[in-house]
Symmetry: C2
């Protein structure tokens, strides 16, 4: 089969390398070349999206912030997985939030603002809160934390719409990787605890307690008629899961499934969207990652990282290193969580020394 991937980033790159064993062909649609372009069987520029869709048997996004006409055309041709039912909610954060609230999913209190001044007014009403641009934000971009005192980002708020959320005093952040196939069969990787820094995933570890994440994700996928792998991010408050957001695709918090699991999220997604069987994912041993953000995992860092037992270093091969840019990640496994955490700390130290904040642009 011919699988079309919208976006040329590292998620597409790993979908292709993990999906190679199945002997599908992989075509990539992107304006600029990225990690996935080099390993693809063919590359198309955005203006060629109709020809790209026509060539493919199935089309899937690795990045959802693109020209909506692409999704619409692929959907018209019956080739888009997951479908517009899920993807259209990700075009505007307010649509996603409203959908979740209306369907009774646990979410933080929120308001929708049409412009910056209104957003600030709403934020003040909440007390501690987060203002998020409705469109185009990811990896903490377009997000502003508002404390009870301190400077307000008045000049920065020039976007045409915002979601203002009450700040959640969470115990931890967690996420789950799940899949749903055409017959509605749902499968779950054991969930992970995630640490974020400046809105960007820093590291994670699996397994963790469920906190109700499986039940919520199951209902969410059903309510969207979802087909493919989905990641759902949660805040854990008083032992209960509150939905932060969902990703209608493979996700950074699922990279730990590349090692230590019976199947990676990438192969799982490719199998599901090409209608090949997937059986219940097994976690062989505690697994996690540390993201390499704002730094090039050069030879020297590779050597330091790979000297730590049960590690794998992934370099995405991006040319330009910028603060906040994901350049690679390190996979870890260990017989127990205690050893995993020790190794994770060693990897963090090897990559960042004492302070990663500059690399994350904070």
């Amino acid at each position: 089969m011919k699988v079309g991937i919208i976006g040329a980033g590292q998620l597409g790159w790993m979908m292709i390398t993990e999906g190679r064993k199945l002997q599908h062909q992989y075509l990539v649609l992107s304006e600029n070349p990225g990690p996935a372009s080099k390993v693809a069987d063919g590359n198309f520029s955005l203006r060629d999206y109709r020809r790209f869709v026509d060539k493919c048997d199935v089309v899937t996004p690795e990045f959802e912030h693109t020209n909506p006409s692409i999704f619409e055309y692929a959907q018209e041709q019956g080739k888009l997985l997951p479908s517009m039912d899920a993807l259209s909610l990700k075009v505007d954060r307010s649509l996603e939030k409203s959908f979740l609230a209306e369907h009774g999913f646990p979410v933080a209190k929120f308001s929708v603002a049409r412009e910056g001044a209104e957003a600030i007014k709403m934020a003040k009403a909440f007390g501690r809160s987060v203002i998020k641009a409705s469109k185009g934000g990811y990896d903490g971009k377009g997000q502003y934390y508002i404390g009870e005192t301190g400077r307000l980002p008045t000049e920065a708020l020039t976007a045409p719409g915002y979601v203002v959320e009450e700040f959640i005093e969470f115990e931890t952040e967690a996420s789950i990787i799940a899949s749903r196939d055409r017959d509605g069969v749902k499968l779950f990787h054991p969930p992970s605890l995630n640490k974020n820094l400046n809105g960007i995933l820093f590291s994670n570890e699996a397994p963790c307690e469920d906190y109700g994440m499986k039940r919520i994700t199951s209902r969410l996928m059903d309510s969207l008629g979802y087909v493919g792998v989905m990641a759902v991010e949660f805040f854990i408050v008083n032992g209960k899961a509150i939905v932060n957001e969902f990703a209608p695709r493979v996700h950074n918090s699922g990279h730990h499934t590349l090692h230590g699991s019976s199947i990676s999220q990438f192969e799982q997604h490719i199998r599901v969207i090409t209608d090949l069987p997937v059986t219940s994912p097994e976690l062989f041993r505690p697994s996690g990652i540390v993201n390499a953000v704002g730094l090039n995992v050069d030879r020297h860092l590779q050597e330091a990282v790979l000297s730590i037992p049960e590690t794998h270093s992934y370099s995405y091969g991006k040319q330009e290193t910028r603060p906040g840019r994901k350049m690679g990640h390190v996979n870890l496994t260990a017989e127990g969580l205690k050893t995993l955490r020790k190794r994770s700390a060693q990897v963090v130290n090897a990559l960042y020394g004492n302070d990663p904040s500059e690399n994350f642009g904070s």
Copy 2:
């Protein structure tokens, strides 16, 4: 770094897909395109071997039956790993056997014959025996089992040299995947039990008892000053390991390391030859494979195989299916060996039905 792979088969293909995460570049040298060609960063034809070697930082074979000048030139340039010390023994089976015997490794009794008639005479003297062409044989090619009665393959024996071995009444066949780095540090994957059919690997399972394999392999690698991954195949007789042969490269009996292990043989080899650290391989749970020989793992077979829990289907994308030709393999893992064997039997049944012998050309 630029890694040169001599040969374009499935071993090269998996070295490249498993090595992608390290962001090396992979160049392939082969007269005809094969599975590795499509995923390589560059392809060279055999007559361009000097330009190929000059472009690479390190050169390694995935197939050793090639023009010896290639190895010699790569060695002269200080780029060949493993070195000629090991590879030259694989040019002629009699050299390998003599080396092993002279260095006190346990091997079957053997004689070296200059032509067919002499080989038959020697075979008769042994009683049950195996006549093997000295050059070019692999996957049972050029090998003839000689019973105490029955037809002799007199007309077939037209090669310029043979090794005649006493037939070993083995309890089982086993192998080990090991590596040795530039500093002489040796690492071992847990060994596997292998089933062969018509001289071709049919299926295997790991872990198994050691039977002395680790000790023998350790000494063999040291005695060759070996750098890279090596596979050694053994016959197990009265609980002791007798060396059948070694492969100076990744090996079919190590494909199970792709899943259920902390590192695959392919990534391990790439790391070792590019002088990146490798730590001791861990087997997370019992793992094995079933080879897909003489059959195309088409959509129908993929569906049958992937419905069995904890399986992965690898299709090498070869155009022509022939009896005895390896077209793909299936990886299996399971919580225990008993379940692994049950799943393995299910995969065999899905691929071959009741009788695989025709697929193996027997």
